[in-house]
Each structure stands twice: as C-alpha cells, then as structure tokens.
C-alpha cells in the first residue's frame, strides 16, 4: 500500500496503519466470503462509485453484484424490499451484512484518497482460504432494522451479525473520526474541533441523503 510520500499533506500514522490493516483484511477470507469474493465486491462498488461501465464479475453471484453497485453509488436507494428480494435470490443476511461492510470501508478509504488528491490504492491480491462462518453468540435477530443484529439496533451494533466486520469498523472509524470513547467528549479537539467535525459529517450525510 502507498507510503503516502506523494500526498500533498502529511498523513497521520494512525490513519496509514488503519488503511493498511483494512487492505490486508480485504484480501483475506472473511466470515462468509472468500478473499476472491471480497475483492470482487470492492471492485464492483468502486466501479459504480466512479461511474465507469458496470463490471461483469463472475466470482460473485448476481444479487451480490447488484447490491455492491447500489451501495457503492447510491446507498440511500437501498430498501428493505430490495434486501428481501436479494435474499430470495440467494444473498442471505450474513453474506449481505459482510458485503455492506466491505463496500462501506473501501469507500471510506477511497474517499480519503480522492480528498487528498491521490490515485486510488490498487485493490489487493486475494489471499487463499475458506471463510470462517463464525456466528455471534448470542445470535443476531432481526427487529426494527432491515438486517439481524445482536441487541437493539444502534450504530455500534450495526454489523454485529458478522462480529469480525464490526471489529474492523471500530478500528477504522477511530482514526478517521472518533472512537466511541472520544465521541462522548463534545470538547475534543484534533485537527478539527468537534463542531467542525460534525459540520463535515453532516454535509457528507446531506450529500448522500442519509437521514439517520
């Protein structure tokens, strides 16, 4: 992965480390997808975001390709009905939650690179191996959200049906924004004040029409 020597501004070491960790995870077998499938999902989502021609990927099922493209480009267009339809076509909730995580995290890194004026990081070469198929205990249950979660539906439990992805999310959003502990401090100051951070966060969400 890039050492960021081409970056126009110095990039914090904790950010670089979190990106490298993510890229390594992306290439490796996950909980429900192989490394080949995980990088294929990332490829489809990135192509959709970049508005290039739809890519034909034979290594993932058709509903996974459609879901990755939609989440990559226009996440607000995802509906519960679509998720149910994808499930009927074979994309079960566990595979879908891991797919959401892959698309979301790769988009985070890609957006940082775009903002910094860097060429996008090439996607990693997949690593061999089988998915772990680890399920959470207690089990994830579908309640008010559209996918199963462990406990009440909150952002910290959003990916809890696939615990490894929830852990990966936490390791990324601490360096990129705030850890859950830091989020409790309204006076926290990094390169930006808390109000400045939330202005950036709010504008990004408005741009994506993300109401939550």
């Amino acid at each position: 992965m890039s050492d960021f020597t081409e970056a126009p501004l110095p990039v914090r070491n904790d950010l670089q480390d979190s990106f490298r960790h993510l890229w390594h995870r992306l290439a490796a077998p996950g909980t429900w997808w192989t490394g080949i499938e995980r990088t294929a999902i990332a490829h489809v989502a990135r192509a959709a975001y970049e508005a290039t021609s739809p890519v034909a990927i034979s290594s993932i099922p058709e509903p996974a390709s459609v879901a990755a493209a939609l989440l990559g480009k226009t996440p607000a267009a995802v509906t519960e009905e679509l998720i149910d339809a994808w499930e009927q076509q074979g994309l079960d909730a566990n595979h879908y939650v891991e797919l959401v995580a892959i698309v979301a995290m790769v988009t985070a890194v890609d957006t940082f690179y775009r903002a910094m004026g860097l060429d996008l990081e090439p996607l990693p070469s997949p690593l061999p191996g089988e998915p772990s198929r680890t399920v959470p205990h207690p089990p994830a249950i579908k309640t008010k959200a559209w996918v199963p979660m462990v406990g009440p539906p909150t952002i910290p439990s959003s990916l809890s049906a696939v615990p490894a992805e929830l852990e990966a999310l936490e390791s990324l959003h601490g360096p990129m924004y705030l850890s859950y502990e830091e989020m409790g401090d309204p006076a926290i100051q990094k390169g930006l004040s808390r109000a400045q951070m939330e202005l950036v966060a709010g504008r990004t969400s408005a741009f994506n029409e993300c109401f939550f």
Binding site: P8, L9, P10, R12, L15, L71, G72, P75, A76, A77, V78, T79, V100, A101, A104, M105, T107, D110, T111, F112, A115, M116, G117, K144, A145, W146, V147, M149, P153, T154, I155, S158, L159, L172, H173, P175, M176, Y177, K190, G191, L192, R194, A195, Q196, M197, E198, L199, V200, A201, G202, R203, T204, S205, A206, F207, N208, E209, C210, F211, F212
Partner: protein, 109 residues
C-alpha cells in the same frame, strides 16, 4: 446520518448551512470545510478546496476533514444498508429542524 450529526452540534453552529452551504455555518473555517466536502464528493477542483481549508484552519485540519468525509461515506452506507431506524425521541426532538432542512425529502426519512 444527518439527524445524528445535528443532534451532536445543535447550538454550536448554524445547522442550516449543512443543507444550504451558501449560508455561513458560523464556525471558523466552516464555509471552507463545506466547500471541501462538496468538492471531494463531486470531484470538482478538490485541490483548490483543500488548499482553502489549509489557509483558513491548518494542514492538519484538511487531513482530518478528508478522513471525516471518508468516515461518513462509510457510515452512511452502513446506516442505509442495514436500515438503521431513527428513534421516535430523536424524531420528536428534531421536528422543527426536519422542517427547516426539508429532511423529509430523503428516501429513508
């Protein structure tokens, strides 16, 4: 995740600027930060917008703004992808701001 950010910042900035970036957010470097987000997400003259944040706040601020933008591109996809519900209490507290920002036009509102 707009409702969440507004709950976090209410009283500390002009939240109307979040959906109407021609308004002054009333915090240091606010207008430059809004322009940087828009440039990043639209791909339109990102370098100029980034340099404006460096000049208005600091180089560290521009890096953090890039990271926070990326983080919320991620969180938006997770919240929308899993269908995260907005609690009734949040919706009630935000009734006026939902009207002011016309948030009901959003697909998941």
């Amino acid at each position: 995740m707009l409702s969440w950010s507004i709950e976090e910042t209410r009283g500390r900035l002009n939240v109307l600027a979040i959906s109407q970036p021609t308004l002054d957010p009333l915090i240091p470097g606010g207008s430059e930060l809004l322009a940087y987000v828009d440039a990043t997400l639209s791909g339109d003259d990102i370098a100029t917008a980034r340099n404006a944040v460096v000049a208005a706040i600091s180089p560290e601020a521009a890096v953090d703004a890039a990271a926070v933008t990326g983080n919320f591109e991620m969180m938006n996809r997770i919240a929308d992808g899993v269908g995260m519900p907005v609690g009734g209490g949040t919706r009630q507290r935000m009734r006026q701001i939902i009207t002011d920002l016309q948030l009901d036009r959003f697909p998941h509102a």
